[in-house]
Symmetry: none
Amino acid sequence: MTEKRLTLLLDFHSGLPIYTQIVNQVQSQLANGMLKPGDQLPTVRALAEELRINFNTVARAYRILDEARIISTQQGRGTYITEIPPPETTEKLRRESLAELAQRFINEALRLGCSEREISRMVRDRLGRESNRSESGQVKK
Amino acid sequence: MTEKRLTLLLDFHSGLPIYTQIVNQVQSQLANGMLKPGDQLPTVRALAEELRINFNTVARAYRILDEARIISTQQGRGTYITEIPPPETTEKLRRESLAELAQRFINEALRLGCSEREISRMVRDRLGRESNRSESGQVKK
DNA sequence: ACACAATGATACAATTAGTACAATATAAAA
DNA sequence: TTTTATATTGTACTAATTGTATCATTGTGT
């Protein structure tokens, strides 16, 4: 009954593989509470149709998440968020995702001709701005 | 989905290399609005067939445009006009682009559930790795 | 003849899509 | 209740589409 809508936003020009984007976004939605243990994810076909992609691409993302013990896929039954997401594996996957994001950002910045100092400083700047924002108002619900 | 026709006119007697002609014409079409950020260019093979040339020549043109950050090529996906198109990097534009990149990166990282410290540290990590690599490495064209 | 740049040929890797199948659930039939 | 049929779900393998890498060939100038 608890079929999540699982609103995912794909960027087909980002250079990030679609299955990676799905993995990252499911992971992040679990991290920030939009998804909870026990929740059923859309079927590979349903999500594929909604995103206008092939269901194998969804299946690939689900398989990665399954191997990371984030979700539990069962043939003929469906796909669910793991009841007890092993912290160390979610942690691992999250760090990997972060590393991927970071590397990508850095590469693009470098190609833009930015110096490392510039990049580093910009990140510090923006991070500081973020923390100010969250201090003045809770976004969580 | 919106595959551009990308009408290119080659002059095989101009003495100008074909790949250079492709580079120039893509650039000018981007400049005068015939091409816009996000547009997908024809595949190397499709354009090659249309122009009756080898697809490696197209690939070479695309690679040059990619290095110039005009377009973004992704193996297995396709080739697109870069979303953030300011290679005309005045200092100001470059900083704005960097800010945009950084903000996007940070937002995604936060959505992943990463802490600010984690994000900051990951960027430092990766930047350090990058500088090691470039010590032995390549200079821009 | 030689050097070098441009182009072409071939093999490869990454991503996504297509097809057939197996496991499970659900409902109908006995 | 048990059995059977059908639909639903994920899986496995394969194909198609994309750009990449490397080397061979061609052509031009010295």
